[in-house]
């Protein structure tokens, strides 16, 4: 009896520790923005030379690399991707619009510049992590398009930079601000993506739970639904949706 009490205490301690770990998980989990972005480019001439610029700036100014914009599933509405403008591409950039491109704020200024031939519209999926920088200035994702003459598609961007879309990553669910009627943003959904550090905690928690469960079964069989119920209460549905 006394041993059973000890085992029960051990199980409770283990579950409490695991719960504490899970409770702490949200702080270590990023919530991505996943949108499909479409820009009406029918007004652009159907010739090579239009250029799109994707920007990701680091608010901390240190190049902390805590956010990434992944651009994929590019469509050109009858147009086509051109070459990467290496003279304007800088910072933490990989890939290009022919497949998947990625911008990470590993530098203060991260730019992917790539030419394209305009069709009716240019579209892509944007998967943007939303880790908030320490300090007063957030990271920012934006993009703009220049016509073949080098003139930007005019927008209502109050900065005058003619960005078509701006996202200030000032929360886990930041606003997506479009400055042109040419832009359509279709949310795909926000997903919880465990960060590597969070995964470590999750594995540790699961290990502790499994160990406790084995000890409990060995000492005193648990009810069949105790653990699943506990897990269900600790993992929210959207966190399970994964990406």
């Amino acid at each position: 009896m006394r041993k059973n009490m000890t085992n029960k205490k051990h199980l409770l301690w283990t579950i409490t520790a695991a719960a504490a770990l899970f409770i702490s998980l949200p702080a270590y989990v990023r919530a991505d923005i996943i949108d499909t972005v479409t820009v009406d480019t029918s007004a652009l001439p159907s010739i090579p030379g239009s250029e799109i610029f994707f920007f990701l700036t680091d608010g901390s100014g240190t190049g902390d690399g805590n956010n990434t914009a992944t651009l994929s599933s590019f469509g050109f509405g009858g147009g086509s991707a051109g070459t990467v403008d290496l003279s304007n591409t800088t910072g933490g950039v990989t890939g290009d619009m022919t497949s998947t491109a990625s911008l990470t704020d590993s530098s203060f200024t991260n730019v992917l510049a790539q030419f394209f031939t305009a069709g009716s519209a240019i579209s892509f999926n944007l998967d943007l992590t939303t880790n908030v920088d320490a300090g007063p200035t957030p990271d920012q994702f934006s993009f703009a398009i220049l016509d073949p003459n080098g003139n930007p598609i005019p927008t209502t961007d109050p900065t005058g930079d003619d960005n078509l879309l701006v996202i200030n990553i000032n929360s886990s669910n930041p606003a997506v601000v479009s400055y042109s009627d040419l832009v359509t943003v279709t949310p795909v959904g926000a997903v919880a993506t465990p960060e590597p550090r969070a995964n470590v905690f999750l594995v540790a928690a699961l290990f502790l739970l499994a160990r406790a469960s084995r000890r409990a079964r060995h000492q005193q069989p648990a009810t069949s639904n105790q653990l699943p119920v506990t897990l269900k209460t600790l993992v929210s549905p959207n966190q399970n949706s994964g990406s």
């Binding site: 200024t109 730019v111 200035t137 957030p138 920012q140 005058g160 930079d161 003619d162």
Partner: protein, 722 residues
């Protein structure tokens, strides 16, 4: 947001200009006069008591010599008769009034203002005032647009045949203002009174350096008749004292401002006369004239109940018998600049009604309602009666020896002068050789003889009238003046540290608390004051404050139209004389408020007020940085929110402290130079910001390194200088 004011440009310049450095002398001649010299106007005896051509005599260490002399031929344009008024200017030149053209086909040909630049010089005719007809050529008729036209003739009393009088020297300060400069010009001006037909006594002056004629501070008008010699005037410390024979007036001289500049590429120039107010001796409510009280005379109880601050004693006798100039004649006016007698008039009060010099109090000229200058007159129901304290008269006659001195009258033609050795005056006596002598005047019963009649006749002259002294000692006005110039489209309202307002408020109502009349409730006397100036609607619009108190001057502007505007603030210290100029610019729209407040210290240093750090009340939210591939600049939107409970007046400035060295603020309105820490770039929002309200501003950065931009924020509000 009621404003579309974008940002301000501050231009600050300091101009310290020595008046001498600015002007210098218009004449290259050497100064032939020495300190203590006297100049006497006299003439060559013509026989049978008549006088011929005039001369200016130099009296130095008791010796008489000729300074300059008229040709003997009356038809010569250089001819002048016996001078009727003489002054020595600051450059040692003799300036005098005299009849000219005597012997030409007119008995009363007129009077001229002449000047001899040195010993033996030919008199230069600076201006001519024709009598019954105009002589010419060679007689420069004075024309002052809007004042004196070319066709005028001038009235005289016939006997003197003088059509001008009251010659006196002015140490003239003229303020010069440009867009970025404030300075003071100091020069001599020769002031006189003429009496053109159909116009009346008119004060005019000749600027010695600028060589122009212009209107001067208007002195008292003639009290009937046409004898312009009944008027006399003197300048002292920026004020003009004048008499018309029966009363006296003190006028704070207007300050002439010559302004020029450029507004939106268009040049302008303007001449303004700021301030100027006149007060004269108040009259007895029954007798109708001013009561003077000789401080040497006894007083008696008035029989009235004490009514402080009114005195309940009164002079033994009022009504004109004991007073020096009641019902009599006030002649010349003089200010003793050297030996402490102060304001002096010549009167016919004294033994045998001869002319005496009398020192009088200025208290009632400065404030005619001052109750300390009133007593209760028991003879007239204890009414408050003003009195002018006078001191023991200085002997202007009764000199012993010789006992024969007897002045002809107290008229301005015998005007005394202030010398470094005390007042001096010309004295007429039918028994003196040549009929006149010059005496020094000190308190007592006897006057010392400075130049005897014998000395004059031995030099070949007689008929001493005017006396001038070198140095003249005339003191210019002192004190501070602040002038604001507004280049539209805004109205401004200035509030001084005591709450007095000048300008136009947000409702369009004009204010000028610096000008008006104060009526004393006890005495009924009224004081006129005019220390505030408003040039009225128009561009540019000028405002001025005389003798401003040191402290902070609130200046609130309200847009009356759309476009850029500038507010210039000038300070001028006449005592130095120096000037300073600062200005601030912005862009206004209708109803847009702004602040151009400034500080002034006791010596005239001015500066726009520092803004106050209001960061504790303002929440600052920054966006991320966007980058323009076109401009190669970074942009950031900053939102300011008033988290406090009271509105924050604009302009509101966001200063970026410790901006990382790799970046600079492209759209900076300036760097902090007033509110520490200094050197931080800032942008300005118009404001105001109500509680809970927000405003945004876009920051544009250049950062060639494309590396991180960091800074801390500081929010400044109020004031003008960040």
């Amino acid at each position: 947001m009621p404003l579309n004011e974008s940002f301000r440009i501050r231009i600050v310049s300091f101009a310290l200009v020595s008046a001498l450095g600015l002007l210098g002398s218009s004449s290259a001649h050497a100064n032939d006069l020495q300190s203590g010299d006297l100049l006497i106007g006299a003439a060559v005896p013509f026989g049978f008591g008549s006088l011929g051509n005039g001369a200016i005599l130099l009296v130095r260490n008791g010796a008489v010599s000729v300074f300059c002399e008229s040709p003997s031929n009356g038809a010569n344009p250089g001819y002048f008769a016996d001078p009727i008024g003489v002054i020595a200017d600051s450059a040692g030149r003799a300036v005098f009034l005299a009849e000219v053209g005597v012997g030409l086909p007119s008995f009363a040909p007129g009077t001229a203002l002449l000047r001899c630049d040195g010993i033996g010089a030919t008199a230069e005719m600076l201006g001519y005032f024709p009598g019954t007809l105009t002589l010419g050529p060679g007689y420069p008729v004075v024309v002052i647009p809007g004042v004196l036209s070319s066709g005028l003739t001038y009235q005289s009393n016939g006997a003197e045949a003088a059509t001008a009088s009251a010659l006196h020297l002015i140490g003239l300060h003229t303020i010069s203002l440009t867009d970025l400069f404030a300075g003071v010009k100091t020069q001599d001006a020769y002031s006189l009174v003429v009496n053109p037909q159909g116009i009346g006594a008119t004060s005019i002056r000749y600027r010695a350096t600028d060589q122009i004629w212009e209107a001067d501070t208007q002195v008292m008008s003639l009290n009937g008749g046409i004898d312009v010699t009944a008027i006399d005037a003197i300048s002292h410390s920026g004020a003009t004292y004048s008499t018309n024979g029966t009363n006296m007036e003190k006028v704070q001289d207007p300050l002439t401002v010559e302004a020029s500049g450029t507004i939106l590429g268009v040049s302008f120039s303007a001449t303004l006369n700021l301030f100027g107010s006149a007060n004269s001796f108040p009259s007895d409510p029954i007798y109708g004239f001013t009561v003077e009280y000789d401080l040497a005379d006894p007083q008696s109880p008035s029989g009235c109940l004490p009514a402080p601050p009114l005195d309940n004693s009164m002079p033994v006798n009022t009504g004109g018998l004991l007073v020096p100039f009641n019902g009599g004649t006030m002649g010349s006016v003089m200010y003793d600049e050297f030996t402490g007698y102060g304001l002096i008039i010549t009167t016919d009060y004294g033994p045998s009604q001869g002319p005496w010099l009398t020192n009088i109090s200025e208290a009632l000229l400065d404030n005619p309602g001052d109750p300390t200058q009133y007593f209760q007159d028991g003879n007239i129901g204890c009414l408050a009666v003003p009195f002018v304290p006078v001191t023991v008269p200085l002997p202007y006659f009764g000199v012993d020896p010789p006992p024969t001195g007897f002045a002809a009258d107290a008229g301005a033609s015998y005007k005394p002068a202030s010398s470094i050795n005390g007042p001096v005056g010309a004295q007429f006596s039918s028994t003196l050789p040549g009929g006149t002598q010059v005496v020094g005047l000190v308190t007592g019963t006897n006057a010392s003889i400075v130049v005897s009649g014998t000395q004059l006749t031995n030099a070949g002259f007689a008929g001493a009238h005017g006396v001038g002294a070198y140095p003249n000692g005339v003191s210019a006005g002192t004190g501070l003046t602040v002038v604001l110039r507004v280049d539209s489209p805004v109205n401004i309202l200035i509030t001084d540290p005591n709450g007095k307002k000048l300008g136009v408020d947000s409702l369009g109502n004009a204010h000028n608390d610096f000008t008006g009349t104060i009526v004393n409730s006890i005495t009924g006397g009224s004081e006129n004051f005019n220390n505030g100036f408003d040039s009225g609607p128009g561009e540019p619009r000028f405002f001025g404050i005389k003798n401003p108190v040191p402290g902070t001057y609130s200046v609130q502007s309200i847009g009356t139209g759309s476009g850029p505007y500038t507010v210039h603030v000038y300070s001028v210290n006449l005592a130095n004389p120096t000037g300073q100029a600062i200005s601030t610019s912005g862009t206004a729209s209708v109803g847009s408020p702004g602040s151009e407040s400034f500080t002034l210290d006791s010596v005239g240093n001015i500066g726009f007020t520092c803004s106050i750090n209001v960061s504790a009340e303002i929440g600052v939210i920054r966006s991320g940085y966007s980058y323009s591939i076109v401009t190669k600049r970074y942009a950031q939107i900053v939102t300011l929110t008033n988290n406090g409970t009271s509105s924050i007046a604009g302009p509101i400035s966001l200063a970026l402290d410790d901006l990382s060295s790799n970046a600079s603020l492209f759209n900076s309105a300036g760097t902090t130079a007033c509110a520490a820490p200094l050197g931080s770039p800032y942008v300005t929002l118009p404001g105001p910001l109500a509680p809970g309200a927000s405003a945004t501003v876009v920051l544009q950065f250049t950062d060639p390194t494309k590396t991180g931009i960091t800074y801390t924020t500081r929010v400044l509000a109020g004031g003008v200088s960040q």
